[in-house]
């Protein structure tokens, strides 16, 4: 469904990402693993079109070439990003954030139904529709961000550390909801700190080190892969698990 | 290298001597033009002194300029001239410290508008004071100062602003300001008292502006708030400094000199359409020179430097 190739990004002199390539299928959850600063976030941003890439980038969504579209048209094409730090409109209310989520034309049909689905996924948002997002807790803000992204009726959803700042209980809830999202036919690509939890729901994964995709495999393969353990999970898995 | 420096220093002194002797052979108009050039060179450089490293856009230039001019209007006929200038310096510095301490925590546009409002507030208060206390709005300045005196004083001031700017750049204060300009958080973590550094610099810059106002005041016999606190001066100085490039000491002067000449040329050549033409030329400059004259120069140097190195290697 989503096919990405030859994505390279530089920040000034610093090469953040080199020729990244990956693929997300329909109803598939794919996770990108890697250490802090390895280029995971950059990779998502590059796919979503909000950081400029070097020439040669190829992004295909549902057989359509979206490599050269500006960010807002990429959303329109069916790819939604929930960025790290959430990227929500903190000064607007929950309801307004959801309304804006349904801003793409592709999302206008069935907006009410989708909104109902999002609110049933995150019942807490329904209780707080009129609240300004800035005043909500981190977990609730994360729900707003994901809810807003879902409102745009995406084919593929990119999530950058969705569990960041969430309590373990919430993380579990969140991943359960992501599974439900996947059941609606949406492909998910996520960058996660929380390796075990994310690999547990993921189908496949990629490993990024120093701006390069250095490995990939099914979730189970990665779970037992030494390189992954070393580069990412460090000793803690070896000792604690 | 040392010989090069010596040559540069000698050339500088020679240039300065030529400038100092200018009033001997220039007629009144060229003297006036030179005064205008010096005035804006000092104002823009002083502006850049503060705004370059800190990136605050200040529209308070005319507030300090006007205070200087008014100091002369009030005290000019009563006290000896050096004392008047000294008092103007003190008032300018004091005002800058008060303003700096209360406003330098404002960011971006808010600081811009605040400084503009400040200039207007001072102007209104001067008007109110004159109207209600002295009952005369305009003041006459009949002091014994010729155009040549004004020119020489401005020349000294111009040299001073460059020397002090150069000294600051080499001092701990200057280093601190560069760090603040790069990253204020890092600056604080290096033990730099950011507030004091900024306020000190603001005060130094303000003193120069105040002195320019004081020195220029005798040129116009008659001082009233609309002449002394002319808001266009603030805007022109900002534009000149930005055009020249405010992050270099000599950048603002590179904006001030051509722009003063351009304004003069347009006013002389197209007295009825100068506004329109000025606007068009201005837009062209903004689009063509996104990094100011300094950017032009840096770019030029970047293009040529590698070749020079190659030549050096070959020799």
């Amino acid at each position: 469904m989503l096919e990405v190739g030859d994505v390279s990004v530089t920040y000034g002199q610093h090469r953040a990402l080199t020729d990244a390539a990956l693929r997300v299928g329909r109803s598939e959850i794919v996770v990108i693993l890697g250490a802090n600063g390895a280029g995971k976030t950059t990779c998502l941003k590059a796919i979503a079109g909000i950081v400029p890439c070097l020439a040669g980038k190829r992004v295909k969504l549902s057989e359509r070439d979206i490599s050269h579209l500006p960010a807002h048209e990429i959303v329109e094409a069916g790819l939604a990003l929930v960025p790290e730090g959430r990227g929500i409109f903190a000064d607007l209310t929950v309801a307004e954030n959801l309304l804006l989520g349904a801003n793409p034309k592709r999302a206008r049909d069935g907006e009410a139904a989708r909104r109902g689905r999002v609110l049933s996924l995150f019942p807490r948002l329904g209780e707080r529709l009129g609240q300004t997002v800035r005043t909500m807790s981190g977990g609730e803000q994360q729900m707003v961000a994901i809810g807003r992204a879902l409102m745009s009726n995406p084919d593929v959803l990119l999530l950058d550390e969705p569990s960041l700042g969430l309590s373990p209980l919430l993380v579990r809830e969140l991943f359960a909801s992501l599974r439900k999202v996947r059941e609606t036919g949406v492909g998910l690509l996520l960058v996660e700190q929380n390796a075990r939890e994310s690999l547990a729901i993921a189908d496949r994964g990629y490993l990024i080190e120093n701006g390069m995709v250095t490995g990939s495999g099914t979730a189970a393969e990665l779970m037992s892969n030494n390189a992954v353990q070393h580069a990412y999970l460090g000793g803690i898995v070896a000792s604690a698990v | 290298m040392n010989r090069m420096r010596l040559a540069a220093a000698l050339a500088g002194c020679a240039g300065l001597a030529v400038l100092a002797l200018l009033p001997m052979y220039a007629d009144a108009y060229y003297l006036a033009l030179a005064i205008g050039l010096l005035q804006f060179t000092v104002l823009a450089t002083a502006w850049g002194l503060f705004s370059g490293p800190t990136r605050y856009v200040s529209l308070a230039t005319t507030a300090f300029f006007g205070v200087g001019a008014y100091t002369v209007a009030v005290l000019g006929e009563l006290l000896p001239w050096p004392l008047v200038l000294l008092i103007a310096t003190a008032i300018g510095a004091l005002m800058a410290v008060i303003v700096g301490l209360s406003t330098l925590r404002l960011s971006g546009l808010h600081f811009v508008i605040f400084t503009f409002g400040l200039a207007e507030l001072i102007r209104q208060l001067v008007i109110w004071y004159e109207v209600n206390k002295t009952r005369v709005l305009g003041r006459y300045v009949f002091v014994d100062i010729t155009q040549k005196d004004i020119y020489w004083q401005l020349l000294v001031l111009a040299v001073a602003v460059f020397v002090i700017g150069w000294l600051i750049a080499r001092s701990r204060l200057g280093f601190a300001l560069r760090i603040i300009g790069e990253d204020e958080t890092v600056a604080k973590h290096c033990g730099i008292n950011v507030t004091i550094a900024k306020v000190t610099l603001f005060a130094i810059s303000a003193v120069f502006m105040t002195l320019v106002g004081a020195i220029m005041a005798p040129r116009w016999t008659y001082i009233e708030p609309s002449i002394a606190f002319n808001a266009t001066i603030s805007f022109e100085v900002v534009i000149m400094a930005l055009l020249g490039g405010a992050h270099r000491l000599w950048g603002p002067a590179l904006g001030a000199i051509p722009l003063t000449l351009l304004f003069e040329f347009l006013a002389a050549r197209f007295p009825t359409a100068s506004t329109l033409i000025m606007g068009v030329i201005f837009l062209l400059i903004v689009y063509a020179l996104p990094a100011g004259v300094v950017g032009l120069w840096d770019n030029f140097r970047r293009q040529w430097r590698p070749q020079r190195v190659e030549q050096g290697a070959g020799a």
């Binding site: 000034g12 002199q13 610093h14 250490a35 802090n36 600063g37 390895a38 800035r134 005043t135 909500m136 807790s137 981190g138 550390e161 569990s163 960041l164 700042g165 969430l166 309590s167 373990p168 209980l169 993380v171 579990r172 700190q193 929380n194 390796a195 075990r196 939890e197 547990a200 080190e209 120093n210 070393h230 580069a231 999970l233 460090g234 000793g235 803690i236 000792s239 604690a240 698990v241 | 701990r172 280093f175 601190a176 560069r178 760090i179 790069e182 990253d183 958080t185 890092v186 600056a187 604080k188 973590h189 290096c190 033990g191 730099i192 008292n193 950011v194």
Partner: protein
């Protein structure tokens, strides 16, 4: 807990952002010559705690004693002059300056500063110390990610700190670099420096830390030796989530 006198002593520290309590009643100490790891999942309040210590933020309540003085709410530059150096999670170097100048930024403004003539030599020495020998004239922008981290550390060391705050300084290093980095930090400890380390790299924590404090959702949930806290079920749950249900 530790025999050595505490360099840093935090009591009842609280800081909230709007409704979110980022640091909640935190107590902890860093003893002289000790390396303490501050652990916890992302968003658990570690960086906020560091910001409170270095004066970037003022606490809502609580006390921070550094070298016997309560520095809670004190201006950052004053805390820095008391002998506190830090690095940042997103590495912050002075891009427009060369490496020597970056280090001089740390050298020039603390109380025990050197005479001008010795400054360059000191800067070179510090650069060499962090593995950037000969990089004096290179612009900070031209450095690789790793070297920027080294440069940032050199700048922090230039302050001659009594306490060093390292905010994920080892993150993003490759395995061989990581070894070098760990050695470097250990050598700092051997020189008598106290270090508070926010880190995710568990190998490093294991081999470096004398003690660890683990935070979650703003609260301290565990404290003790690395072995002890890393096997604490509460910590594992905070880090990895509770074991997945069937």
């Amino acid at each position: 807990m530790t025999a050595a006198p505490a360099v840093l002593e935090i009591k009842g520290l609280v800081r909230a952002f709007g409704g979110l309590v980022a640091v909640n009643a935190l107590d902890m100490t860093v003893g002289s010559g000790e390396i303490v790891g501050l652990l916890g999942p992302n968003g658990s309040g570690k960086t906020t705690a560091l910001n409170l210590v270095s004066g970037v933020l003022g606490p809502d309540s609580g006390a921070i004693h550094f070298g016997g003085q309560n520095i809670a709410g004190m201006a950052t530059h004053r805390i820095a002059r008391l002998g506190l150096g830090r690095t940042f999670q997103l590495v912050r170097v002075l891009h427009g300056m060369n490496c020597a100048e970056n280090v001089r930024a740390g050298l020039a403004f603390h109380p025990a500063r050197l005479p001008r003539g010795e400054m360059d030599e000191a800067a070179s020495r510090l650069l060499e110390r962090v593995g950037l020998k000969g990089s004096e004239q290179r612009l900070a922008t031209e450095l690789t990610y790793i070297d920027r981290k080294r440069l940032e550390l050199a700048r922090a060391l230039a302050l001659q700190p009594r306490l060093l705050l390292l905010d994920e300084w080892l993150a993003g290093l490759n395995p061989s670099e990581l070894l070098i980095g760990i050695e470097l930090i250990r050598s700092l400890k051997d020189e008598g420096l106290s270090i508070l380390l926010v880190e995710h790299v568990m190998d490093a924590i294991r081999s470096l830390c004398d003690r660890c404090v683990v935070m979650n959702s703003g609260r301290k949930i565990a404290e003790g030796t690395p072995e002890k806290v890393l096997s604490d079920p509460a910590v594992i749950e905070a880090y990895l989530g509770a074991p997945a249900d069937a």
